[in-house]
Structure formats: C-alpha cells, structure tokens
C-alpha cells in the first residue's frame, strides 16, 4: 500500500458520526462541535497530504498520472462476479478529496456559529459527519457498485439534513421530495449498472474506462433499438447522475431542498453532493466518449446546456435568495455537464473535460461561499426574502466583501476563479458545437445579471425598517467566509490542465483572448444591467416585468414544472393507474383472504354448540369413532 492513510480519510468522519450519534445526549454541544471540526480537520490534512504525494512526490510516470488502486473483495459471488471495496486514486478523485475536505471543513467551522443554541446541535454534527464519510466513499470508489452504495448513502444524509427542522411541514415535504426524486433517478442508475456489468463482465472502473480495453471496444457487438446496448446503459447511468445533479427534468427537488439549514445547502446542495452526477460522468468519461462515437455524450451536452439556460432564466425572477442560489447551482451544474459533453479525449482535445473539472472545483468554492454568505445574511435579518433586506453593506462589511468576491467569481470577471474555468468551458464549446457555445454565452450573461440582482438587493438599495439593527456574524462564521473568498479569488491561477485531464497526461492551456473577451464582456453587461435595475429602488424592474407579460409569469412560476409533475402523478398516475390497482387489490386480492378468514369464523360459530364441555360425551364420541374405524379396518380392508 502506497497511501495507507487514505483509508482514514473516510473512516474518521464515520467514527465521529458513530461517537456523536450513539452518545447524542451525553456529549455537551460545545464538545461535539469541536469533535466534528477536529475529525474533519484530520481528514482534510490527510487529503492534502494525499494530493501532495500523488501530484508532486509520485508525479507523472511515463508522462501520465497513474491511477493507484487498493481493493479487497467485499461480496464474493463467483470467480468473475464479486463486489470490491477499496479506494482509487487518480487526478479527479484526488481533486474531489480536496474539494470535499475544504468545503466540508469550512461548513463545519461555520456551523459552530450558525447552529449555536439549536436543540439538535450534536445530531447536526453527527449527520454532517455521516455525509462527509459517504461523500469520501463515493469519491474514492473503485467500481460501479461501490459508488452506488455511497451514492445512496449521500442521498440518505441529504434526506436527513434537508428534513433537519422536522417540525416544519415544508421541510419534511422537501426531504421526501428530494429522496423520492433522486431515488427514482437511481433506478435508472441501477439498471444502467446491471446492463453495463452484464455486457462487459466487469464493474471495475479501471477495466471499464481503459480505451483499449475489451469493455469499450466491444460496444458494436450488441445493439438494441438502433443503439448499442452500452449506450443505453450509459444513458441510464446518466439519468442517475442527472437526478443527483438536478438536471432538467429531474431538478425539482433542489430548490425545495433549501428548506434545510443553510450550511447544509452550502455543503450538500451546492458544492459536493450535487456534483456527484458530474463526477460519475467524468469517472466513466472514456466510455461516454468512445462508445458509439460519443452518442451518450451528446445527450449529456444537450441536457446540460438546456438545464443551464432553463435554470438561469428561473433564477432571475425568484425572490427567495436561497432559491436564486439553488437555481444558480443547477445552472452551473448544467455548465459542467455541457463542458464534459463537448470534450474530446486526447491531450488538448480534452479541454472540455479539464474545464468541467476546473469549474467543479472553482464552483464548489464560490458557491459554498455564496451560500454561507446568504446564511450569514439570513442569520442577521431572519428572513430569506429580498424584500426584507437592503443596505446591509453598512452593517455586515465582511459578508458584503466576501459575497462580492463570490459574485464576481461566478459572473466570470477576471481575475477571479470563475473566469478561468468558465472561459475554458466556452472555448471547448466553441470548438465543438456553436449552438451550445451561444447558449453558454447567454447563460454567462444571465448568471451575472441574477447574481448582481441579489447582490444589489441585499447590500444596496432601500433600507427596510429592521426591528433590530442587523450586525455582523460571529468570528466562527466570518473566518470560513474569508478563507473561501481567498480561494474563490485565487483558485483560477492553479494550472489545472497540468493535473486533471481526460487522458491524465496534462497539457498546457492558453487563454483564448477573443473568446475570453466576449465572456467577460457579457458578464460585465449583465452586471451593468443589474446595476441599472437594482442599485437604487426604481420602477424599472416592474415595468420590465409587465412588458414581458406571460414570459415573466412563466419564469416566476418556474415554467410550471412542479405543477406538471403534480398533474402527472396525481391526476394520471395515482388516479388512472394506481387507483384501479389499489381497488383491485382491496377488492379481489385482499377480499379473497378476508373471505377465507370470515368463512372460517362463521363455520366455527355454527359448530361450536357441539362442544358441551362434558368429558364423557367426548370420550363416547371418541370410542364410537374408534369402534367404527376398527370395524372398517377389519371388514373392509381387504
């Protein structure tokens, strides 16, 4: 074993979860906060050591970063079919280790301040640790089944944390919605795993993603409805990924998931769990690229592009700041999917892949920061709605500056980190598919607009009559903000293309100046538009909304997707399909069983008069029976 301590990275949060979960009542809240932060701090240090050893000490062997695998057989079915457990280190998993560790650690520290005085303080840290454990396991998975197991575990932790305020009805509904929608998508994932496992004979990532391996080369041998069976498997796996990453039309759970505590939204629903879908596609990227000349990858690209545009439009009209951020997350996830979708494999052709991973990294930092800032604002004004905020820059200077940094980063303004990653995605799209490129540019403008809409709405504009003067959050909350702001500002200068590429070889990425100019220009246009509309209170936004008419109403109601889902499930599925089934079940299946039971009871009612309770009557009947049997035996048994 070259990296023995990697096992500890997921196991420490698991131990913390068990400790805090089992001794929930006995541990004082302050102590449990320290235990949670301490455990994660050790994991973060180990993750940093791993990254250093992997990228720097070991470095490239023959020009590429070699994956390192440690695994043991976990469930043994036969010689060829077994499920392994272990860890896989390659550039993307090491990068994800860093992302998960940093964001999770920041959120842990932040939560110590944010959740102070909450009833379930210890429980909250236990759930956070459970989530960290599951996410590390997902990132380090060596095969499809291991990733599926941890995939469900992060789903469970997400469910638990969304429903954390379980006395609130809307939180419970949101938790159930998130669980059911992602579970529904995971059905596709499971079928995809089984199809791929059946036709390639392996679940192992190394064997599946080897471009010269039998798994990829054999794609043309089987076909189903005009496409290779493997393409179907990959599309089904992508459905699982789309469910977790909130791609259209499985995105409906993400905005509702904002019912959870804000640190949870920052950790799970912005930075880590929702990128699991992107990670999954990136993990199987050689399959997506080589099988059937990338048909499944085309699907990924278009779904990603559509989701990015769709979510950005909705984000403009929402008034709950967390919902704006949720739709923004969905839009940026679409961006990452789009980046993967337009990528090639070898060398500099893999720009989209590298850019997508880069954007995943930078987005994790600035979106976690945006959520934590939003949490800080909500902490101060006790409301999620824009109408209750304004002019907060005077009261909350640290939150103001860090939010501004994050907003500039997400808008793609140089030299903040989002500029570099977003620009590279756009360059990759420009080379592959002009339509997707145009969508990307439009989304970039919209992103800048809605981000600065809430920025101006929160920190400038009117001063609503605050009941109590808002004040800056405590140090435990502002320190993570500052650290994440530094990362958001500086992460763009990491030479990502040296480290994380599709073929693990590394190449040199250059800025494409004309395209970078366009990208930052549309960002600035978006910001300028938001400046005009929202810097000071004025009637422009309302007039604009009125002139857009129907379009505005549609976007305000999120294009009625939730209503469509309700219509399909309640009016069609429940009423037309489940209803008759339930009736049939009650009437005929249950009815038969109940009928048998009832007839037994009524028969026994009728014959119980025979039982007189007199022993000698019974004895007489018994003797008479014995005599009759005796006669039968003697005279008839011939």
């Amino acid at each position: 074993m070259m990296y023995p301590y990697v096992l500890l990275i997921p196991l420490i949060p698991l131990a913390v979860f068990l400790l805090l979960g089992l001794f929930n009542q006995k541990i004082k809240p302050e102590v449990s906060g320290y235990i949670g932060v301490g455990g994660l701090l050790i994991s973060t240090i180990l993750a940093a050591i791993t990254a250093f050893e992997y990228f720097i000490t070991t470095g490239k062997v023959d020009g590429a970063y070699e994956p390192y695998v440690f695994k043991t057989v976990w469930m043994h079915f036969s010689e060829t079919l077994h499920i392994d457990m272990g860890y896989l280190l390659d550039p993307i998993s090491v990068m994800m280790l860093i992302v998960v560790s940093v964001v999770s650690l920041m959120v842990h520290i932040y939560s110590r301040g944010y959740m102070k005085g909450d009833q379930g303080y210890t429980k909250f840290f236990a759930f956070l640790s459970l989530f960290s454990f599951s996410m590390y396991g997902l990132v380090l998975a060596t095969n499809l089944f291991q990733i599926y197991i941890f995939w469900e575990l992060v789903g469970v932790s997400s469910y638990l944390l969304i429903g954390y305020y379980y006395t609130k009805e809307s939180a419970v509904a949101a938790a159930k919605k998130a669980f059911i929608v992602t579970r529904f998508a995971d059905l596709g994932f499971l079928i995809g795993i089984l199809i791929i496992g059946y036709y390639t004979g392996t679940y192992d990532f190394e064997m599946l993603t080897d471009p010269e391996g039998s798994a990829i080369l054999s794609w043309a041998t089987t076909s189903f409805m005009g496409l290779s069976v493997l393409t179907w498997g990959l599309i089904l796996i992508f459905i699982g990924g789309a469910g977790k990453s909130a791609m259209f039309p499985l995105h409906i759970w993400l905005p509702d998931a904002m019912e959870g505590p804000t640190p949870v939204s920052a950790l799970i629903h912005a930075a880590t769990m929702v990128v699991a879908g992107i990670y999954l596609v990136a993990r199987l990227f050689p399959m997506y690229y080589f099988v059937e000349d990338g048909f499944a990858l085309q699907v990924v690209a278009y779904v990603g592009a559509f989701s990015a545009l769709f979510a950005a439009l909705i984000a403009i009209t929402q008034n709950d700041i967390k919902r704006v951020l949720a739709y923004s997350t969905m839009s940026q996830l679409g961006y990452m999917m789009l980046g993967l979708g337009v990528s090639g494999y070898e060398g500099a052709e893999g720009l989209g892949y590298m850019a997508s991973m880069f954007h995943l990294f930078t987005h994790a930092m600035f979106k976690a920061l945006l959520f934590l800032c939003a949490g800080s604002v909500i902490h101060a004004v006790h409301s999620n709605y824009l109408k209750d905020m304004g002019s907060l820059r005077k009261y909350m200077p640290v939150t103001h500056i860090t939010f501004l940094v994050a907003a500039l980063a997400i808008s793609g303004i140089p030299p903040f980190s989002g500029f570099f990653s977003k620009d590279e995605i756009l360059v990759a799209a420009f080379e592959q598919n002009k339509l997707i490129y145009v969508v990307g540019v439009v989304v970039a403008a919209l992103t800048a607009f809605y981000m600065f809409r809430i920025y101006f709405g929160i920190f400038w504009g009117k001063t609503p009559g605050y009941e109590k003067t808002p004040h800056e959050s405590p140090t435990s909350m502002t320190v993570p903000l500052i650290i994440l702001a530094l990362l958001s500002a500086g992460a763009g200068f990491i030479p990502f293309s040296e480290y994380v590429t599709a073929d693990r070889m590394g190449f040199e990425a250059h800025l494409n100046y004309p395209l970078a100019l366009i990208a930052s220009a549309v960002g600035i246009i978006g910001i300028a538009a938001a400046w005009i509309f929202y810097k000071k209170e004025n009637p422009l936004p309302d007039r604009m909304a009125n002139s857009l008419g129907k379009l505005y109403i549609w976007t305000y109601h999120k294009f009625y997707i939730d209503e469509i889902y309700l219509f399909v499930t309640k009016k069609i599925l429940f009423k037309r399909i489940s209803g008759p089934f339930a009736k049939f079940d009650k009437k005929y299946v249950d009815g038969t069983m109940v009928g048998i039971g009832n007839s037994t009871v009524s028969t026994s009612e009728k014959i119980k008069g025979i039982q007189s309770g007199k022993v000698q009557d019974y004895a007489l009947a018994f003797i008479a029976g014995a005599v009759i049997l005796g006669i039968l035996f003697i005279y008839l048994w011939k």
Binding site: K608, S612, G613, K614, V615, Q616, A619, I623
Partner: protein, 105 residues
C-alpha cells in the same frame, strides 16, 4: 405360559377387562372412578402385550419390556391426574364430572 390355559382364554379376559374399563369411563360420574377405569384399560393393554409376547414369540422380550414401560408411564399419569383432581377439588369443592364444564366454548 400357563399350562392348560390357551391364548384365547387369556385374550378374552383382557378384552372383558378393557370393555369394563370403557364402560366405567363413560358411565361413572366421579372423577376418581373414571381414573380407576382408565387404569383398567391400561392394564388390559399391558396384559395383552405380555400374553402375546409369551405365547407367540417366546424367545423375545419386547412385549414384557413394553409392559414395564406402560406401567411406569401409567404411574406417572395417575400421579398427574390425582394432582389435577385435588386442585379441582380445592377450586370447586367437588369431584363430579358434570360440574366441570367451565371451559366449554
């Protein structure tokens, strides 16, 4: 084997014993008498075992051994039955079988 007595006579005696027992079991009202009748039935069976063993398979012992076995079981069963009857008497101050019908339906 008893000289001058054939198996038929002995089996007739055990049959009589058996049916006396059955008659007593059905007609008697006192629990103790019923218990005695049961003993008669059992003893008829034991004698049957021994007689058939002795007359038909003189070299073997199974019948006699089984007879001893039944005696032992009958002793245990009697002890149990008497214990039940004593407890019943304590509860309802009677050993008449007519009065013990509280458990019906």
């Amino acid at each position: 084997m008893i000289p001058g007595v054939s198996i038929y006579e002995l089996l007739t005696v055990t049959s009589l014993l058996f049916f006396i027992g059955v008659y007593g079991f059905v007609t008697r009202k006192n629990l103790i008498s019923i218990l005695i009748s049961v003993e008669l039935i059992l003893n008829a069976a034991v004698i049957n075992f021994v007689v058939i063993n002795k007359y038909l398979y003189p070299d073997m012992l199974q019948g006699a051994v089984f007879g001893i076995f039944i005696i032992a079981v009958a002793a245990a069963e009697t002890a149990l039955a008497v214990a039940i009857i004593i407890n019943l008497y304590r509860q309802i101050s009677s050993v008449e079988v007519e009065e013990i019908e509280t458990m019906k339906h």
